[in-house]
Structures are given as C-alpha cells and as structure tokens.
Amino acid sequence: MQNPSGTLLSRFSMEVGVACFTGLLGAIVCYGSTEFGTGWGDAGPEPGYFPFYIGLFIMLASAGVLVQAFLTHRDRQEVFLTREQGHRILLFFLPMFAFVAASMVLGLYVSLALYLFGVMTIQGKYSAPKALSVCLGTIVVFYFVFEKWFQVPLLKGPLEAWLKIY
C-alpha cells in the first residue's frame, strides 16, 4: 500500500465525502418537506408530497454511489488532488472568496477593483499603475454598460453613496 507522493486527497475519500454530503442534502429536503404534509389532502397531493420523495430518491441514489465507491475505488490508489493542485486552487479560490465577502460591505464596483488590483499585482506581478489603469477602465466600462445602457444596477456600497451615485 504505497501512497503516491504529494497526494492531498484521494479519489476514494472524495467519492465517499460527496456521497455523504448529497445524502445529507436529501435528508434536509425530506425534513423540510414534512412541514406542509407529505401525504394526500383534500385537494390531491399535499405540498410536501413531491419534495419528500425527491429527498428520498437523493438519499437512496447517494447510498448507491457510496456502495459503488467502496466496490470500485477503495483499493485503487487514485489521486483526487495533489498538493501542487491544491495550492493552485487555493491561490485562485481565496481571492475569489474575499471578493464576494468584500462586495457584501463595499459593493461590487469597489470590491472588483480591489480584487483585480490584488490579483494582477500580487499573482501577475504587474506594476501598480498598469493594474490601476485596468481596474479603472473595467469600472468605467461596466458602469456604462450595466447602469446606463442595459439599466440593470449593480450592488453598491458606502463609496457610491458618498459620491451620490445610485
């Protein structure tokens, strides 16, 4: 039983993990559907009838995936993610997560500028003026395309309120 070097996650553990997660989602759907009755009322099937069976199917099929995982993936040393890949994903995911979190407070325009600027200067090794000009250009283009042309406003934050842009 050798472990390929640099393996962060094995395929088998991910198969099991995801199957358990989807099974849990199924259980949540079943539980949620009991709120309005899962049986047969005066006007036919009650609102919880359909979702209840959906949840049940999710759980059953997840169990099927779980059994398959034990049958086919258990003894194979398949790699899901190597350390290097995990590192690359984190470098991509964490800034993206920060972008979404920041946009809750700062609005989309400010946080997208921070996000683009950060990724370009830190990961792309661009000079600050170059990155800044890309950020400003993007904001101006997005503002005119979305707010003026298509009239679908984006999420705004305190900076826009201060500048009196709504």
């Binding site: 099937p45 099927g64 290097e84 999420l155």
Partner: protein, 500 residues
C-alpha cells in the same frame, strides 16, 4: 407548404437592421465566450438573460441563439489552435484538428471545421422547419399526464443513455428537482424548504446555478490543471480558405452521416457532446484511412463539427414544441422564455407564430453570419487567449458574479454562485453529469405541476399514466426502456452470446 409560408414571414420579421446587428453582436459575444476557458455556451447565455429582461422576446431570442452559435464556433477555434476544447462538445475536434494545425494546416482545419459546422447547423434548421408543424399537431393532443410522461422520458434517457454512473445521474437530477422546489409552491402558495430564510422565498434561480456549476466550477478546474496555452499562430489566407472549401465534396458521406447523427441526438436528449463523439467514432470506423485518425485526418474534423452543430440547432425544436430542452444551453434558453412570459410548448406555435418563426428564420441567418464572422475574427480571438491569465481569469470571475447578481439583485445569489461553483467542480471531477441537474431545475416546477394535476384528475391513481391514452402509454414504455437500457442491452448481449 404551410411551414414555408410561415418561414418567409419569419424572415420578414428578422430582416431589420436592429435584428441583424443583434445577431452580429450575439455571434461575436458567443465566440468570445466559447474561446475563453470557463465561459461556455450555457453559462454565457445565463449571463446575457438578465440583460434581455427589457427586450422584446423576438429580439431577445435572436441575441441568445446567435450567442449559442458563436459559442459553438468559438469552442472549435480553441480546440484546433490550442488543443483546448472551449466546449465539452468540441473535445472530439481536438483529436485531428490540433495535429492538423501543428502540421501547418491551421487554416485548412479551421475552414473545414467552420464550414462543415455551418452545413450541419443548416441541416438542423431545415429539419426543424420541416418537423415543427407536425410536432405541434402531435403535441396538441397533450394534457397533464402526457406532459409528465414526456418529462419522465427526458429524465429517463439521461439516466439510461448517459455515460456516467446511473446513481450519479439520479443524484444530480434529483438535487436539481430539490433546488427547484425551494420557495413558493405554485399550486398551494406555501413556501417550501426555505427553513425560515426570507431570501429563499423567491427560490433558487437556475441561472445562478448554471453560472456557478458551469462557469466558476470550470474555472476552478482550469486553475487546478495549471493553465498553459500552447497556441499555434493562425493567419487566415483567403486562398487557403477556398482551397479547403473545394475539398468538402470529398467528405460528402461523412457530412451527411454526421448531420443525421447530430439531428437525431439533438432532438432526443443525447445532446451535442454525445453526437460529436459518436460521429467521430463512426467516421473512423467507416474510413479507408483509419490510421490517419488522431494524426490530422481532415474527416476527423468534419465529422464531429457537423454533428455538434446539427445537434445544437436541433435541440431547439423539442424546446419550442414540447417545452423539453435537448441540451443544457437549450434548457437555459427555455428558462429565459419563461422569464419573458412565454410558455414553451405547442400553444406557442399558435399564440406567437411571429416568435417561433422569427426564431427559426434567425437560425438560418445567424449560422451563415457566424461562419463568415468567425473566419474573419479568428486571429483577433486567438490573440485574446495570449493575454495573461492573471488578467483574464479574474475578469471572468467578476463577470460571472455580476451576472449572478443581476438576475434578481440579491446578495444571497453571490454566495449561492460561489457554493455552486465549488459543488460543480467537485461533481465534475467525480464524473457526476451536470446537465441533468440544470434540466431538472428548469423543468422541476412544470414536472411537478403536471404530476400533481394528473394525480388530481385520477384521484391519486398512478394508472392514469398507462390508461389515459395510447399516446401516454407509448411514451411511458419508451421511457422505461430508456431507463433500464443498460440492463436491457446486457440481456440482449447475453442472449446473443448463448445463441452463437
């Protein structure tokens, strides 16, 4: 020739400067979306839908379908020049397209791909034109049990005919149904599965799910693989283009076979990806130069491209006529139709013939325009891929999240898109099919309504799905055969083995 007259009326609607400009814009945006990693056709169409809310439906569908054609062409471009399929359906094109480009025949490969794709698409639209009258008459006999049976047929075919594990297909599909039931229940008015979160009352938008699953999920996967573009410089010389077109008649058998496969897979929910692989396999099997395949055989470009595009266009027919989309992108478009206040299905042909025939007419024009535009702009789009990924990557991320926010202006949708992104990445890496989930999210409410209405008719007896009409029984039988197809085909093989 009622269809022909209708089609001419459709052309009358489409031929305006505004619509032609929309078509060109849609095609160009589509090529961009098809070329960029992480932004495929379903995701691109999802991102555009919020911008069409204020448009008239005919203009909106022209924009969306044109984007779809553009995305299909863009996917082929990167397959050939970069060995990176922009779309899952253009994977088969890389097998011979990239070797051809490596050997210095990039223009030849691209021209063959685009023109045969254009021919495939036109065959697809012609099939739609001929069949739509007939499908409508057929579909007018439908009531709730028949509708439920057709939805069931669609879902069963995904489970039985798909290449993934049937359990995984069921998990993916049922999760889609589960997400679709969140929020206000259309029949009773109760709010289901919201667990006290007021933000969930409006439900989980399938558009947010598509942006996460297809867009962000794919981007995460691209990042994990470590992105490296080893592109081949392409300069399109008109002489080479005409020379390539001149060789097309020698591929006539491949063209016809591939177009037929594509039409069949597009109308039945096999989808463009399966069609292109199947067509490539058959082209190889019937070729006299089997050894050339994989090393730059022109027929290996013609076959998958023709099938991909004829399947892509044919997938529109069941969406318009029955309300059953044949591909993930068609599912997203159908969701768009419902948002614009149209009900896909047979009544659409009667109530809004201008919309239906305008769409079909625009498909002819859009595909011709796409071939011309894509040939003209290949160098430009190839240059975009040479922009460093540390600029392009975050830009795509930003566009995806802006698209998610615009759907209903809800902050929660940003988080949902992120969650769906991670989920989509995991599912894709573990070979769960994602199209059934999207399909179930779009069709979930309609399927449930059809089921509950049938149950109300029959006072709770499931036998209505067998006894209501011969039509419903027939569809149910086909659905069951498709569902258990893996088992049935094994039994047939065993029986053959014993007989031999």
């Amino acid at each position: 020739m009622d269809n022909f007259g209708n089609l001419m009326a459709g052309f009358g609607i489409v031929f305006s400067a505004y619509h032609l400009a929309l078509m060109a814009a849609g095609v160009l945006l589509g090529i961009l979306v098809g070329v960029l990693p992480g932004l495929g056709a379903p995701n691109g169409v999802s991102l555009l839908i919020p911008l069409t809310f204020t448009m008239d439906p005919v203009s909106a569908i022209i924009l969306l379908t044109s984007m779809y054609w553009g995305a299909l062409f863009g996917g082929s471009t990167t397959s050939i020049l970069f060995n990176i399929p922009g779309e899952p359906s253009s994977v088969a094109t890389t097998f011979d397209g990239y070797p051809m480009a490596q050997q210095g025949h990039a223009t030849h490969a691209l021209t063959l791909a685009f023109v045969s794709a254009g021919i495939g698409a036109l065959v697809g639209v012609a099939v739609i034109t001929m069949l739509s009258g007939w499908v409508t008459q057929f579909a007018l006999k439908f009531s709730s049990p028949e509708y439920f049976a057709v939805y069931l047929l669609t879902f069963c075919s995904f489970i039985g005919m798909g290449s993934a594990s049937p359990f995984k297909a069921i998990v993916s599909m049922m999760l889609g149904f589960g997400f679709a039931t969140v929020g206000m229940d259309g029949i009773s008015g109760n709010t289901r599965l919201t667990f006290g979160f007021p933000e969930l009352i409006k439900g989980i938008s399938f558009l947010v799910a598509v942006i996460g699953l297809f867009g962000l999920g794919e981007l995460i996967q691209t990042m994990e693989e470590g992105l490296r573009f080893e592109g081949i410089h392409a300069r399109i010389r008109m002489r080479d283009v005409f020379r390539a077109i001149a060789t097309l008649p020698s591929h006539i058998v491949t063209l016809v076979r591939s177009a037929l496969i594509g039409c069949w897979m597009g109308i039945t929910p096999g989808g463009p990806t399966a069609a292109s692989f199947m067509s490539y396999g058959l082209a190889k099997r019937f070729s006299r130069r089997k050894d050339g395949f994989g090393k730059g055989e022109p027929a290996g470009v013609v076959a998958p491209e023709t099938a991909d595009h004829s399947a892509g266009t044919c997938a529109i027919l069941p969406m318009l006529a029955l309300g059953v989309p044949g591909s993930a992108t068609a599912a997203v478009m159908m969701g768009g139709l419902m948002i614009w206040g149209l009900t896909p299905g047979p009544m659409l042909f009667i109530e809004r013939p201008d919309f239906v025939w305008g769409t079909i007419a625009s498909m002819y024009l859009g595909n011709v325009m796409a071939v011309v535009l894509v040939l003209a702009t290949v160098p430009l789009f190839a240059a975009i891929l040479r922009v460093p990924f540390s600029i392009i990557g975050p830009m795509i991320v930003v566009v995806c999240f802006i698209g998610a926010y615009q759907i209903s202006g809800a902050r929660l949708d940003l988080w949902l898109a992120l969650v769906f992104g991670v989920f989509g990445y995991l599912l894709k890496k573990l070979d769960y099919p994602i199209a059934p989930m999207v399909l179930a999210m779009v069709l979930g409410d309609k399927t449930e309504d059809a089921f509950r209405q049938s149950m109300i008719f029959s006072k709770g007896s499931l036998s209505i799905f067998w006894t209501n009409s011969t039509l419903v029984a027939g569809i149910m039988v086909v659905a069951m055969v498709l569902l258990f197809w893996p088992l049935i085909s094994k039994l047939i093989q065993r029986a053959r083995g014993q007989a031999a």
